[in-house]
């Protein structure tokens, strides 16, 4: 194994540790204690907040920058996805339609 490969392996193991521990520690620590009611209620609002923050601005970015022009297919595909989800409450259909709209918009 050459020096460069050895260095990369060392870096990846470091990356693995700093990725894994934030995933591990809350699960280990918090699943073993009875959380105060206020924290439980706060946690109940967290999923919606996280999902929203993952969608925006990620879905409307192009090449790392927010693009609100009409030529950004992501905006339309996202709008259609929300529409299908609200109308049908069907996750698979939402994913398929969103992906297809995104695909078609890039062809035209």
């Amino acid at each position: 194994m050459n020096v460069e490969t050895e260095r990369l392996i060392f870096i990846f193991l470091g990356m693995a540790a700093v990725t894994y521990f934030p995933r591990l520690i809350p699960l280990v620590a918090l699943s073993r204690i009875e959380l105060p009611r206020v924290i439980m209620r706060w946690l109940a609002y967290l999923p919606v907040a996280i999902l929203s923050a993952l969608i925006f601005p990620g879905a409307i970015q192009r090449a790392g920058a927010i693009d609100v022009s009409l030529g950004n297919p992501g905006i339309w595909a996202l709008l259609v996805s929300f529409g299908v989800a609200i109308k049908t409450r069907n996750l698979i259909l939402t994913v398929v339609v969103g992906g297809v709209v995104m695909y078609l918009l890039q062809l035209i």
Binding site: V18, L27, A49, L51, L107
Partner: protein, 237 residues
């Protein structure tokens, strides 16, 4: 196999489908990029096996080809993946009765996508840790498969198809958030978190804008809840 268990496993596999469809092309894109940057075949695949975190792997490849130090790469990875603390914390109440030996295996697979899918299931369905194990390791396997295909064969999906499959993960998040919004207060939390995340993305690095917007969004929900006495108080589990 009893029916409840059978249904749960079926749910896990069907829920994993959109993740598989997104992870394989994304993993392949990573594999190709890593090889193009001059990384060896084994080394490129090794990163996917030990790290399992899409965005930070792309960033690492970019940083490494720009000559970054080990410390810089590890630090950037830490900050980009710190958001999983919130997801792990949010999942934790559902693993009260799960053995300490199993939790580390579940934790390994907490990604944006597996979290987004499973949190809704835990809130609304009868699922337990076996559901998470199947979902997480199916996702992990597809991430590695994609990486191997990209690194080994230069497996490349046409650009339009690639970006559509990756975008479908956002459609998945959109569908999931809609399913989670069951009243006006939750809608308000969603809109506020989205607005804050967009705003913060202009001046916060890493994924701090996601973390901060999520924290503040959930806090806003909690504060408003105590004002709106007509709203039923929400609890997990």
């Amino acid at each position: 196999m009893n029916e409840v268990k059978h249904n749960m496993m079926k749910k896990a596999f069907t829920d994993a489908l959109p993740i598989i469809l997104g992870y394989i092309p994304m993993g392949a894109a990573y594999g190709i990029l890593a090889r193009q940057s001059g990384m060896g075949l084994f080394t490129a695949i090794f990163m996917s096996i030990v790290v399992f975190a899409g965005a930070s792997q792309f960033i690492a490849v970019g940083l490494l080809s720009g000559g970054a130090t080990a410390f810089e790469v590890v630090l950037a990875t830490f900050f980009v993946n710190l958001r999983h603390v919130l997801m792990s914390a949010s999942l934790s109440p559902f693993f009260r009765k799960v053995s300490r030996r199993i939790i580390p295996f579940i934790a390994w697979g907490v990604t944006d996508e597996t979290y987004a899918i499973s949190i809704g299931r835990y809130h609304n369905d009868e699922v337990d840790h076996r559901y998470s194990l199947i979902l997480h390791y199916t996702a992990y396997a597809s991430w590695i498969t994609g990486s191997v295909l990209g690194a080994l064969a230069g497996f490349l999906v046409p650009a339009a198809l690639q970006s559509s499959l990756e975008f479908a993960l956002y459609s998945m998040f959109a569908g999931l958030v809609v399913l989670q919004i069951s009243d006006r207060l939750l809608l308000l939390v969603a809109v506020a978190a989205a607005a804050m995340s967009i705003l913060f993305s202009f001046f916060m690095g890493g994924t701090w804008y996601i973390i901060t917007a999520s924290l503040l969004g959930a806090t806003l929900g909690l504060i408003l809840e105590s004002f709106l006495t007509t709203e039923p108080q929400r609890t997990q589990s």
